[in-house]
């Protein structure tokens, strides 16, 4: 297998853009990535396009605006891990030797208001009202509180941290600081989860140009290496949306444990070697639990980690220094590539107050419906 590098990156701000189609949003990120790599569209050999809520063959409809070159353009969907699954396809396409370069573009333009529940739930679940994603997050949080004594304040502190970090991210949907009291007094969505603890579905795009490491110098003097890019689906038994039941007999490892273990092995590192991480924070609790699943602490110690400030900028392992999905919003097809963008900036040393000094290794993690999970480790 050949080594693979990221040589260009582009982003379209995450938010709401009534005057732009998904094609407009996607092209902004794609053109910026190609420009960053100094690569022409006519030289791109293959493209993977991640999205969840867009129509058929969105990738072709977006990228052929740049010209029809005849290359393979494939849409990839894996719920919240769509961007990771697309990045992995591009990574494997180059690592295998089949192609020398690839463009990965994640785009989303989600409908306003409630998400259409039939995308994720069966008819009977919708009729019974078992069709709110935060219900599943809330029950997972409640059980963690029961098992380990995790508190609502600890969950709220994750939201405080991410909203505080967002102030420095011009690509975030919300750039506003909130106090612990603001978070704890915001409207209850599904007890104990409150409005300022969850992220908003929205719109945005992010793109990466990949190539074989041995030719990366043609495009950039700051290549970022993909040390691992893993996509997995959960084993039986976790709180995935849209669960109808769970085993009380078997305890399989969480999909984030499985994916991160594979990623650490592929990269030849452990969690202690990470300088920075971007993780799924569709709700504040799952970030806290992800500390445990990524091995940043022992099971049940997520609350302690946030109390001790270990995950703050300037501390041992800053998590969601970008502001996380809580502040950026979650354009599902683009969310993982948005995380990758932040890690690339960290490793290139391009950030301001949120820069982790001398960052060399970063991890990005997403997980969601169906038990989809992706973990990518980048190195410079």
């Amino acid at each position: 297998m050949r080594e693979v590098s990221i040589v260009g990156f582009g982003i379209h701000k995450f938010g709401r853009f009534d005057d732009e189609s998904y094609i407009d949003i996607g092209l902004t990120a794609a053109k910026m990535a190609l420009k960053d790599a100094g690569m022409n569209w006519r030289d791109v050999q293959v493209a993977f396009y991640s999205r969840m809520y867009l129509p058929a063959t969105s990738g072709v409809r977006t990228l052929t605006q740049l010209g029809r070159t005849g290359i393979s353009i494939v849409d990839v969907e894996a719920a919240c891990a769509s961007g990771g699954a697309a990045l992995r396809q591009a990574y494997l396409a180059i690592a295998s030797g089949a192609y020398d370069n690839a463009l990965v573009l994640g785009v989303e333009k989600m409908p306003r208001g409630f998400m259409d529940p039939s995308q994720l739930y069966e008819d009977w679940q919708i009729k019974m009202g078992l069709s709110q994603n935060p219900m599943y997050w809330a029950m997972s949080a409640r059980r963690h509180m029961e098992d380990y004594g995790t508190t609502v304040e600890q969950i709220a502190k994750v939201a405080v941290k991410n909203h505080r970090n967002s102030v420095y991210n011009p690509n975030a949907m919300y750039q506003k600081e909130f106090t612990l009291e603001d978070i704890l007094n915001s409207r209850i969505v599904n007890d104990p989860i409150r409005l300022l603890m969850i992220c908003a579905p929205n719109e945005g795009a992010a793109a990466a140009v990949l190539c074989a490491k041995d030719i990366a110098h043609r495009y950039t003097d700051k290549p970022i290496d993909i040390a691992a890019c893993i996509h997995k689906v959960a084993l039986y038994n976790d709180w995935r949306v849209p669960a109808r039941s769970m085993s009380a007999r078997v305890k399989n490892p969480h999909v984030t444990e499985l994916a991160s273990k594979e990623a650490y092995e592929a990269a030849g590192i452990g969690p202690e070697d990470l300088d920075v991480a971007e993780v799924q924070d569709t709700d504040a609790f799952i970030e806290l639990q992800t500390y445990e699943h990524l091995g940043l602490c022992k099971p049940g110690e997520g609350g302690r980690l946030i109390d001790e400030g270990v995950v703050e900028i300037g501390a041992k392992i800053p998590v969601n220094a970008s502001g996380g999905l809580i502040s950026k919003g979650e354009p599902i097809g683009a969310s993982h590539l948005g995380q990758i963008y932040h890690i690339v900036q960290q490793l290139r040393g391009e950030l301001g107050p949120t820069q982790v000094p001398n960052a060399k290794v970063g991890l990005a993690h997403v997980t969601g419906a169906g038990g989809n999970c992706a973990v990518t480790i980048l190195k410079r």
Binding site: I126, M139, Y236
Partner: protein, 148 residues
């Protein structure tokens, strides 16, 4: 039951016949190889991939593993009471070693406790376009034996 016809909200979830309601049980599938139990009809075992599955009626009683409250009206074709009233949802663990995700009925929303004992509740949830009563499942606080 009069002349009214009943249907299950999902056919493979409830035992037949669908009356009297007090006799209806939740149905599951048990893997003949590893013993894992699933809710409704399973074509194969999600744990060991065995394809030899047997139908079983699930226990009526369980304990609450976790819960939350739906404070907002669920999106789409929700068939609960109008106007919307907040309702509880929980994962109820049965002796077969399976937890069922279900609405919690007949209790005060501020009195719910992890570990509380619950029993199955089969109710007519709504009337469909053909005039049939659609039966849904939930769990309610378990009656103490002296009250039975």
């Amino acid at each position: 039951m009069g002349n009214k016809e009943y249907v299950a909200i999902k056919d493979d979830f409830l035992s037949k016949p669908l009356y009297p309601l007090g006799d209806v049980r939740l149905m599951g599938s048990r893997c003949c190889a590893c013993g894992e139990v699933f809710f409704g009809k399973a074509v194969a075992c999600q744990q060991c991939q065995g394809e030899n599955m047997e139908d079983i009626a699930l226990s009526r009683y369980g304990t609450l593993y976790s819960y939350t409250i739906a404070r907002n009206r669920p999106p789409g074709d929700f068939k609960g009471p109008e106007p919307f009233e907040p309702f509880a949802v929980g994962l109820v663990v049965l002796p077969e070693g399976i937890g069922i995700l279900a609405p919690l009925k007949g209790l005060n929303l501020d009195e719910i406790k992890v570990g509380m004992e619950l029993e199955l509740s089969i109710e007519e949830f709504y009337t469909d376009e053909e005039g049939r009563g659609v039966l849904a499942y939930g769990f309610k606080p378990r009656k103490k034996s002296r009250e039975q």
